[in-house]
Amino acid sequence: MIPYLTRRTLQGILVIWLISVATFVMMRLMPGDPVYLLLGEGEIRITQEQIDAIRRRWGLDRPYHEQYLIWAWNLLRGDFGDSLIRVGVPVRDMIFEAVPVTAKLNLIALAIALVVAIPSGILAAVRRNSFFDYLTAVGATLGVALPNFWLALMLIVLFVLYVPRWIGELPLVGRIPPFGLPGWQGYILPVLVLSTEQMAVLARVMRASTIEALGTDYVRTAYAKGLPRLTVILRHAVRNALLPVVTVIGYRIAFILSGTIVVETVFALPGIGRLFTDSVMRLDYQVVQSLVVLLAVLVVAANLLTDLAYAFVDPRIRIE
């Protein structure tokens, strides 16, 4: 276990290092001189000495490898520098502001996806080729094919234009705000969109793994012992069938982050995804490079944890 852990962690660190180098190179290749970006647009009257002073102040006069080392060292210490656009605001503060929004959105969406996907996956597997199974298959197929930005726009049209027209204000919810986050109602539509794709993928995985578990020897043995059907399904089949679902969630974190970029942008939510697209558009290198490395760390950590959790839950998996 320990050698495996060490090796996997070292591999993860290597991957993160590669990503940080790639990010640094990409940022230097971006169009536009950061000095002029700092000064803003319009007619600039500035002497060469002043430009040099700014370059020195930001360390832009040093050779690239030194710039990289300074940046990487600061990252390691948790110092992400200041935003180039919102002058004087530390990038770390901007990220800390955005994380709770993204975390809330995606955790609620995941929870809803699981609550729907796991029971329907099980039921579809137990009642194979039934109407319900067919319905789940159609839902899962559609859920994967719907682009989340389009689903988002169509839900806005539905809930803002048509629902008030047809049934008036929704009980408990009232009016659903299409953009921004005034109150908890602002989370309803983005969460609905984010959970759709997860739901589709997880229901499919759950159905397939339950079918596989139901065909195993230990399930036959459990039936042979005379255990009631519900006990066999819930205690023997489902418990084992959940394992692939956990793995899929862990490995899907990169997709989940891609989804949140789009959804936050559509709904104008002040989360990590929105911060990312806004910073790319405004050429705020400082924010973009910090976010890219942070996202990579998040994905690598999630994948590592998934592997470990898998090995921990299933003792049959021998760790080489």
Partner: protein
């Protein structure tokens, strides 16, 4: 010796015969899947639509009609007009060119890179494998959309940027599958035998290994096209894909977004086309999986 030369051509023709019937059996399995066949036909129609767009609509997708801002669908203009008074039906039809070009070309690039990297890593092992596998891990550890956004911003958005960038970042999945298959295949007798009689490495890879990994790669590629079409649309939607005025589905959607609550039809139609296109590619992918890779059958 005489015996050996006599049997060789026979073995060869037999081999060819089996090879051909294997593909024929796969085709029969594919045909049995009704959704996959319908999907294939719809893809054919989409390709025809993209190729012969000017024959399907007399409208210029970029012509701005005066006073037709956001006008709703009618018989003559089945999808209505966008906010700039352009005919939406024409824009959506021409938009299929972008979607299919990016979907097919980017997948092609990703498949080629993935096969080369996967075959090298799997066949040679050692430090080659370590190096390439870490590259694969790095790409997989990246929210692909974030990478695409940064790269398009760096290179400058255009149709070819989109194709190249999606292709150059999407090969990791193919490399992983090819590597795993090549690793297990190279232990098998026919490869060991080929090596024993002195066949060169590249010939073993090309003639003996690649034909055997083609099935899973085709399946993975066909199942991935839908996702790539969505990626392209997302990128265009965020303003980093194909630049205006070229009509692409994501771009038309983005154009409709600010006027969503007044003219919802502008965003509706291009999205519907994306859904249909992604669905049919997924149907064909599922059919190919059942046909080419019976071990991986869904149930």
């Amino acid at each position: 010796m005489a015996v050996a030369t006599a049997t060789k051509p026979q073995a060869l023709t037999e081999d060819l015969g089996r090879h051909r019937s294997e593909w024929r059996m796969a085709w029969r399995r594919f045909r049995a899947n009704r959704l996959a066949v319908i999907g294939l036909m719809v893809i054919g129609l989409l390709v025809l639509m993209a190729l012969f767009a000017p024959f399907l609509t007399a409208q210029d997708p970029n012509f701005q009609y005066q006073g037709m801002r956001g006008v709703a669908p009618s018989l003559e203009h089945p999808f209505g007009f966008d906010y700039n008074g352009r005919d939406l039906f024409a824009r959506v039809i021409y938009g299929s060119r972008v979607a299919l070009t990016v979907g097919l070309l980017a997948t092609g690039i990703a498949v080629v890179i993935g096969i080369v990297v996967g075959a090298l890593a799997g066949y040679f092992g050692g430090w080659v494998d370590t190096l390439l596998s870490r590259m694969v891990d790095t790409l997989m550890a990246f929210p692909i959309l974030a990478l695409l956004i940064v790269l398009s911003a760096v290179i400058g958005p255009s149709l070819w940027t989109t194709v190249v960038v999606i292709g150059a970042t999407g090969w990791a999945r193919f490399a992983r599958v090819v590597r795993a298959d090549v690793m297990s295949l190279k232990q098998q007798d026919f490869v060991v035998a080929a090596r024993a009689v002195g066949v060169r490495d590249w010939r073993i890879i090309w003639r003996h290994l690649l034909p055997n990994v083609l099935g899973p790669v085709i399946v993975l590629a066909s199942l991935g096209i839908g996702g790539i079409i969505i990626l392209e649309a997302a990128l265009s939607f965020l303003g980093l894909g194909v630049p205006p005025p070229t009509p692409s589905w994501g771009r038309i959607l983005a154009d409709g977004r600010p006027h969503l609550l007044r003219y919802p039809h502008i965003a509706f139609f291009p999205g519907l086309m994306i859904v249909i296109t992604v669905l049919v590619f997924n149907f064909v992918g599922d059919g190919l999986r059942d046909a080419l890779d019976p071990r991986q059958r869904a149930d």
